[in-house]
Symmetry: C2
Subunit: 320 residues, 2 copies
Amino acid sequence: MRGGAERVVALSGGVGGAKLALGLHRLVGEGGLAIIANTGDDFVHHGLHISPDVDTLIYTLAGLNNRELGWGREGETWSYMEACAELGLETWFRLGDHDLAVHVLRTLRLKEGATLSEVTAELCARFGLPGLIWPMSDDPVSTMVETDQGVLPFQEYFVRHRCAPVVRAVHYRGAERARPSGRFLTALRDPGPGAVVVCPSNPFLSILPILSLQGVREALGELRAPLVVVSPVVGGEAIKGPTAKMMRELGMDSGVEAIAALYADLADGLVIDAADAALAPVIERSGIPVLVTDTVMHTLQDRIDLAAATLRFAATLERG
Amino acid sequence: MRGGAERVVALSGGVGGAKLALGLHRLVGEGGLAIIANTGDDFVHHGLHISPDVDTLIYTLAGLNNRELGWGREGETWSYMEACAELGLETWFRLGDHDLAVHVLRTLRLKEGATLSEVTAELCARFGLPGLIWPMSDDPVSTMVETDQGVLPFQEYFVRHRCAPVVRAVHYRGAERARPSGRFLTALRDPGPGAVVVCPSNPFLSILPILSLQGVREALGELRAPLVVVSPVVGGEAIKGPTAKMMRELGMDSGVEAIAALYADLADGLVIDAADAALAPVIERSGIPVLVTDTVMHTLQDRIDLAAATLRFAATLERG
């Protein structure tokens, strides 16, 4: 693996974060970006190792994501799922026929002794994205959601129960023993990136798992580059997914000021949407510089524009 | 599992044997037949446990076999294979999208600790064939083909190299330690079947693996019921597959008299095609009664007719 010479390191979950990751990739170009993907959602299903956020990032950045569904692969077919239904195999997590090949490859390679980083590098190379996306860790971490219906593994909460249960707490099983992947650490270290961008992903389900790994908060604290968070909530609601619902269930406000508070110890700047402009002074008084811009990304140009605005903003920041 | 009260026990490999197995099933009806499938072709591919002959029998008897291809499932789709090709995963063994679900179920259940018999029973029940098809053994046996290009595992020889290498010998790795499945043994024992039918499958690749299991030749020797072999060759050639080619490469004649010699110690009768009628007296002089009939099965009725003729013939035979 190459040393960390990227201009930008991005921390990302799945769909929401991948939008900005795509913008950053188009803006910065090959070799200038390392995307660190949450793997707290990883799970074994149908005997296969599935890394949903890594795969969403790969499909999105390779231009193969399914725009209609909002997840999975474009032009996907579902014959395997039909046959599974006939056999009584679980079908609540939809495995597309093409998508399956990625899970089989990952499972085979892991069984052969490869690390998750090595498999991810092989997949990225196959999809024309060499060295771009890296798992947060090669060690297993499982996001567990404590709800009014008991403790649910992430996918049970997210897919099977469609985020309906009321969340009491979230914890990251295995995180205390999990080390960040080698590539993640080298991307942060000497000479270090020009900026670290926290993509607009769900904090509890996508970003905090990354920050919970051994030594990651310390490594981010020692960065010379600024760390900028792009808010995943706009006007007190998430663009997609349960971020705002979870924040309220966890006893927080669901506005951008709560996002600022969540990342207060690490963020050198926060990017919020124009709809939240009135809250910018409150956040700045708490000590975090704010960029107000359009953060809702509909088009590819929106993604590139937000990436550009975020990096320009980062260039103005000093480490706090 | 129920005791062995079947009228008929059939030993079978894949496509060729399954034709007669289907005829027997239609003729004898549910509960009257136990089909013992060769599992010497089983292998692990893409991390999945594949039992080709069991699956061919299930698909054929469930009426789901692909008539156009001659193997696999009807209405099959190939998205998974396309995606595998893009990822550089092996594609020489074609895994259809629907077929995959069967392999995943089997692999999951085996990993959970089920026996191959238990998984096969689950699959048969799902496909509306309760208790019909049983693996020859729950222990691993691997048919290895010694060729002029080295020792090839069965699927490498059969699918990858399309039976082109010259065969020097065939052996069944693990057979000396493998016990017949419980259901196979009970099907042969008290009160015992009315007849044992060896389906027109390749002897070396489908039937001898079954006979090579611990105690099977002894159990067949102690049968009170007659054992009838339906010849897999007609006019010195196989209807399908490499039977005749292999016989010649192994230094035998490829005619029905060589089939009679192969099974001489076990067969109480041999069914041969009308095209080979002239050879009947030669075989009968060697001590094996012969039925001459039409053995080439084109239609479902052909399959049922051959099954009926074979069982009528069996009823006339005494144990040798």
